[in-house]
Every structure is written in structure tokens, then in C-alpha cells.
Symmetry: C2
Subunit: 427 residues, 2 copies
């Protein structure tokens, strides 16, 4: 293809993305005032349709899986992409669960009466149009649609090309279900066009799209942040640390460390680095290194850690910054709580950081001085999750400081509006 023929195609893509965003904005207007009853009915209709149209969804997914298998993708990648009847039923159940959650819209956040008699209320309202840019997990398509609909937002979904057929089928089912409800069909749309350009056009749709949430690897998130003039909520990259303090209960430390590293290594709240205070290194590290080895974990240690176990792989400078997402962990001995905090400040990604200690003073300092979405005392980093926090759902974990920080659920998909009621009041 020549440059002259690709230019108009990109312009067409841009026009198609903007047209979809305009339809989403129109849909958002009626969604904003939809009652909970109407929104929940739509979610139940979607759940029913996902089950009723299982055959076509699974056929479309099989096409994606076959194509990706031919391209030589990893087993883990294919596993995230694959749907079966059980997984689809679980996705439908999740949509019903979102219907059961309280409606965030209309909630009064603050309010009262001013000295001059003006009534003032700050109420939750939908954001408007939410764009989700994500990788090859078809369950995100339904999750994101459910959460956005429940919070009164229209959603523009930009999935991975690896899941193109699955997403097309799922969104067709969702829109088919919406057609039988009082909500506008264009409340849920796939972003048209192909490849990186379609996502790029979405990042430039300022004024039509209210927020973009990239879900995926660090590269995807960085490129969205760099390109976007639409506000972005960064999610997910987690180089999480477990720090075993001089005053730690070492049994607790070992239990928490193993849980944080091995209970689900592929997720962002898994531990990626352990820091051990020098005062307990002699007693803790031999036990910990043996237990980690037994659990199949490769330890990338500094020289002081390596001295305890010849199986330790010498850590390079890169190891302190790596989000392994695998059965690997970086490990260092630190001489003080200060050094542990300084290490986390340098290498952490602001996701979840844990201290194991019996010392009230150490816990207090760690909580105050470590700058992260979540800081944990004597608990596994794996708890940092919307479901575990009792939110009932999660659209991602924000690692930025603006708007939302930590697990994001329905309230985080809203903005607010001030309502001021008077009786001819002037200033």
C-alpha cells in the first residue's frame, strides 16, 4: 500500500471513530437520567442474552483462538483469550452481580444550607462517555460495559485485534439486548477501524470522550498517556514490595510473602520484590529462600541475599524495576526501615506496598512515608482488589493520584455536580 492510499484510510478511520464518539455522547445524555430500575433491567437482559446466544459467541471466540494459535502465541495469552460455556456463564453472572450493586448516580456526597439560606448539594453524576482500551481478554468487554451502564456512562470499547471476533460477537449480543430496553443501543459500541490508529483517534476525541482507561501492559498505558488529549486514568502496573522489618513476626512474614508472590503471580497486586531487614536476615532468609524454591519461585537477589543460597540468581539493576508477573522475585537486604522506604520510593510503581512488623512505630512510619495507592501492614498485597475491598466489582486499579487511586468501582466512574437552590438569591 502506498502512502497516498493509506492517508485517506486513516482519515476515514478518524471520521468513523469521531462519529461513534458523537453517538456515544448522545446516548450518554439519556443514560444520565436513566433510573436504576431501567439500568438494572438492561443488565439482566444482557446477562440473559449472553447465555441464550452462547453458540455464536463461542464460535467467534474459537475463530480468534485458532488465528492466535497459528501466530504462535503463548499458552498464557491463549488462555486469557479463550471462552467456554462455563466462563461465559460466569461473565453473565458478573453482569447480574453489577445489577445488584447500589446505583452511584444521585448519591449526595456533601450538602447543607449556607448562611444566606442557599441549599447546596454535591451529587454524583455519570462521567459521560468512557473509553476503554484493553488487550486480549473478552471478559473485559462485558465487565466494562456492565459497570459503565450501571454508572450511567456510555462506553467506547477498543479491544485487541486478537479478540476481534469475540468482541464483535459480544458487543452484538449486548446491543441486541439493549434494543429491547429503554436504554439507547449506542450506549455500548466497539470503536471502529483497525490497528493502533483507531486507539489513537480515540485519544484525540477531546470534548466527546470524557475519560480513557487503558487496561493492559506498561507499553499500552504509556502510549495512551503520551498521545491522549482526553483525560486518562492510568491503571495497573504493579512493582509491589513486601518489606520484612526487624520486628517482624517471621512466621507471618513467610506466610504473607508466599501468598503475595505465589497465589496468582500474573496479576498486578502480586509481590515482585522482597526487602529483608539485616537484623532478621540470618533467621528469615534461609527459611524464606527454601520455601520460595519449593514453591517454584526463582529469586533474583543482591549479594547479601545470594550469600544464603547458591540457587539465588544475581540481581541486575533492571530486576529492581521489573514487574515479573511470573514465579520470579527480586530480593535485597536493607539496613534500616529508612533504606526500605528509600528503595520503594525509587523503584515502586505506586501500586501496593506491604510491611511485616510488630512495631507500631515502624508501621506508622511506613504507612505515612510510602507513597502508593495502598499500603498494607501484616497483610498480603493480593488484597488490593475491588472485590476484596467489598466494592462488588472493579474496572481497574488506578496507580495515579488524580480522580481515583487504588481499586476503581462504580463511584470512581462518576463525577459530581453542584446543585444550588435559592429563592431569588443574589450576591
Amino acid at each position: 500500500m502506498t502512502a497516498s492510499s493509506s492517508a485517506p484510510s486513516s482519515a476515514d478511520d478518524a471520521a468513523a471513530v469521531l462519529a461513534a464518539a458523537r453517538r456515544a455522547k448522545d446516548a450518554a445524555t439519556s443514560l444520565a437520567t436513566a433510573t436504576r430500575r431501567v439500568k438494572d433491567a438492561a443488565l439482566y437482559a444482557i446477562a440473559d442474552a449472553l447465555v441464550a446466544r452462547e453458540g455464536e459467541i463461542l464460535r467467534a471466540n474459537a475463530d480468534d483462538v485458532a488465528r492466535v494459535e497459528r501466530s504462535g502465541a503463548t499458552a498464557a495469552f491463549i488462555d486469557r483469550l479463550r471462552l467456554d460455556a462455563d466462563r461465559l456463564a460466569a461473565i453473565a453472572r458478573d453482569a447480574r452481580k453489577v445489577a445488584g450493586l447500589p446505583d452511584p448516580v444521585g448519591e449526595i456526597v456533601r450538602g447543607g444550607v449556607l448562611p444566606n439560606g442557599l441549599e447546596l448539594r454535591q451529587i454524583r453524576v455519570p462521567l459521560g462517555v468512557v473509553g476503554i482500551i484493553y488487550e486480549g481478554r473478552p471478559n473485559v468487554t462485558v465487565d466494562a460495559a456492565s459497570l459503565c451502564l450501571k454508572s450511567g456512562n456510555a462506553v467506547l470499547l477498543r479491544g485487541s485485534s486478537s479478540a476481534a471476533s469475540s468482541n464483535a460477537a459480544l458487543v452484538d449480543v449486548i446491543r441486541g439486548a439493549l434494543a429491547g430496553t429503554e436504554l439507547p443501543v449506542d450506549a455500548v459500541q466497539l470503536v471502529p477501524g483497525t490497528g493502533h490508529d483507531a486507539a489513537k483517534h480515540l485519544t484525540r476525541a477531546r470534548g466527546l470522550v470524557d475519560v480513557l482507561i487503558p487496561r493492559g501492559g506498561a507499553g499500552l498505558i504509556r502510549s495512551v498517556v503520551e498521545e491522549s488529549t482526553v483525560p486518562v486514568i492510568e491503571t495497573g502496573v504493579g512493582n509491589c514490595h513486601v518489606y520484612v522489618d526487624a520486628d517482624a513476626d517471621l512466621d507471618q512474614a513467610l506466610t504473607v510473602l508466599l501468598n503475595a508472590k505465589t497465589s496468582r503471580p500474573s496479576v498486578c497486586n502480586a509481590a515482585e520484590t522482597m526487602l529483608v531487614h539485616a537484623a532478621v536476615a540470618d533467621t528469615f532468609l534461609p527459611r524464606a529462600l527454601a520455601a520460595l524454591r519449593e514453591a517454584g519461585v526463582t529469586v533474583h537477589g543482591d549479594a547479601r541475599v545470594a550469600a544464603y543460597d547458591p540457587a539465588v540468581v544475581p540481581a541486575t539493576d533492571e530486576d529492581w524495576d521489573r514487574e515479573y508477573l511470573s514465579l520470579d522475585i527480586a530480593a535485597a537486604v536493607v539496613d534500616s526501615l529508612d533504606d526500605a522506604i528509600a528503595h520503594i520510593r525509587t523503584h515502586g510503581t505506586g501500586h501496593s506496598e506491604a510491611i511485616i512488623t510488630r512495631s507500631q512505630a515502624a508501621a506508622r512510619r511506613f504507612v505515612a512515608e510510602v507513597d502508593a495507592a495502598a499500603v498494607l501492614v501484616n497483610a498480603s498485597t493480593r488484597f488490593v482488589d475491588g472485590g476484596e475491598f467489598g466494592f462488588g466489582a472493579e474496572i481497574g486499579i488506578s496507580t495515579q493520584k488524580l480522580h481515583a487511586r487504588g481499586p476503581m468501582a462504580l463511584p470512581e466512574l462518576t463525577s459530581t455536580k453542584w446543585v444550588v437552590v435559592g429563592d431569588g438569591h443574589v450576591r
Copy 2:
């Protein structure tokens, strides 16, 4: 100057801005754990120093004023730039007032105990480093520094070149005062370098600066939003409407309209467009047009408005989108509440929108369907202000939906952190 000589100068500027941002980030670390007692002491020290060093501040300001006068600036521009002893005393009083406000840091936003016994608290923490990009109003220099210090943030100030000497003197006084306190001097810095480039480097300091708040005209705000990879909070542009409903109390309508337009035309919460329901046009418009004329207001009306008064200037398409910030108002007759809402949806900037009505149903629909930071019923748009809302201070009025919407005060200069405390809890 040739291109080859300007390139290194820009690189030097960039390095200087990044170095300042790094110092700010270091300062933010100790600010984050500073107690209210320490922060308030610093604010009182700053207020005292502003009064004690009045002479040098006013001399620096006189230099700015003389230079700007020679360049032929408007009287309004010069008035915003000019300081005198009274104005400086008022600025110092405002810093003391901020000291008297509650500390937002540490406030527990949500909290409780999970079913598994984990204690969960969401607490307010500082954002970190806040960048303020603003135009030629030296009072903003002190206001922004006070609010950022009180909320535990370091601040990078990028003022206008027109106020360069004033800002340099003010920041020198502030830093001098900080040197005698427990807070780091680099908590308050002027962004080094000159011209547009210095602001631009600030917009690229991702990872060092946590949020940028542009305060000023639409052009400044748009350029910051377009260039920035740092999260931005948009402020200020207000094309605010007053809609006089078919069921309005017309005396109230006239009082509110005049207040919204004329009490301070140069500010963002002043009314810029009035919409009048056709059913009351015959009774309301002759009175309103006469009263506006008497108040010195030029009305830019559509044909139906112009029919009532030959002094009405025919409105062009641009008038519906203009933020006059002067004694001008656009005016149109609408045939329904729907038409009024549609007009506001097309032309509003999401700042403050008012309806005047006795109808509960009309008020309810207007509040629900108009998408703005503030919607007012039977009250002047001029009330949308941090001071009027009882916040004690204001760093700007956000017209975006993420993080903060409407008047922003101390809580809006914070983020949150989840604190999770267990006893060896694993998942």
C-alpha cells in the same frame, strides 16, 4: 538569534525546569508528613514577611507596572497586576486565613473492617507536586503557595512575564520565611526560564509533577491541555446561562439576571447569555432590556429579542459561544424548556447554569439534564465560588469532570491512599 544558538538555550531551560521539579519532589516528601502545626506556623511566617518586606515587593511591582504601561496594556490588565500596601495586606490576611482552615491531610474518607477482619481506611494525602500556570495576577502567587503548603504539596509557580519582578520578589519573601521554619524552602519555587518554553517544559515533567492547574484565559488553558503529558485540571472558562422559564417569578428573574451579569462582569461565573421562554417574552423582555440598558449592558439578541428594542445588537453565530467578561450579554427567545436545555448543551462550557422558575417539574428537569459543574435554581450564577460555598479559599473552578468539578479548595488538592491493616492476613 539563529536556530543553532536557540536550541541549546531551550535544552538548558528544560534541564533547569526538570531540576526544579526534582527539588520540588524531594520537598514534597517531607511536606507530606508535616503536621498541621508546622504548616500553619509557616503560613503565619509568610504572612508576617509579606508585611515586613512590603517596600521591596511594591518596588518590584512598580517596575512591572511601569514596563507594562510602556507596552500599552489595558487599564484592566494593569489593575490586575498592580499591588499597593492595602492589597498586599489583604494577600497576607488571606495566607493567615488559610492557616485557620482545617488540614485536609489525614482525613478518613471511608473506612471500616472487612469480613475477614482486615481494617481498611481511605485517607487523604497530598498530591505531591502541583504546577500552577497563570497570568499577570501577583496575588495568585501567594494564594497558590498558601493553599499548596496547607494541603502538604510542593508548588511550582509559572507566572506571566508581565509580573516577573513581582513574582520574583514575592517568592523570595516566601522562601525567606520558609527558611526559618521546619518546612523545606524548595516547597515553593518559581519555574526557571522565560517565555512559553518554560511552561512547555513543565507540561512534559511527567513523573515529577503530579498535576498542572492552568489559570487564565481559554487560549492558555487549551495550550496546556494540548501539550501536557502531566495530568491537567481545566479551570475557568464560563459561558454561563440564565434561563427564564415560562413559570418564572419575573421580579426574581430580573434581580438574578442583573446580578449575574453586572455584579462583576470580568469573572468566570458571570452570566454571558440569557434565554427567555416565549410565553413570558412579552412581559419580561421589555423590562429586562430596559434594565440591562440602564446598567450599561449591550444586548446581543436574536431576531425575536431584537423585535422588543431597537438598541439590541443583532447576535451573530459567535455570540452564543462567547465569554464576554464585559458588560455584554447574548439573548435568545426559546420555545420550551427542551430548547433551553438543548441550547445550553450546545453552547455551554460546563461551568454554571441557572434556571428561574416556580415550577418544581421544570427545576427538576433542568437540574437533572443540564451537564455543568453547577446548576442553580432561582439563584445567581455568581454564587459558584469557593468562598461563597464556605470553603474558605479557592484555587480555581474546575470545568472538567475528573478529580474535581466546580470550586476547588483544600480537599481538591489532595489524593487518597488506602491503608490496610491485618494480622498476617493472606488471600
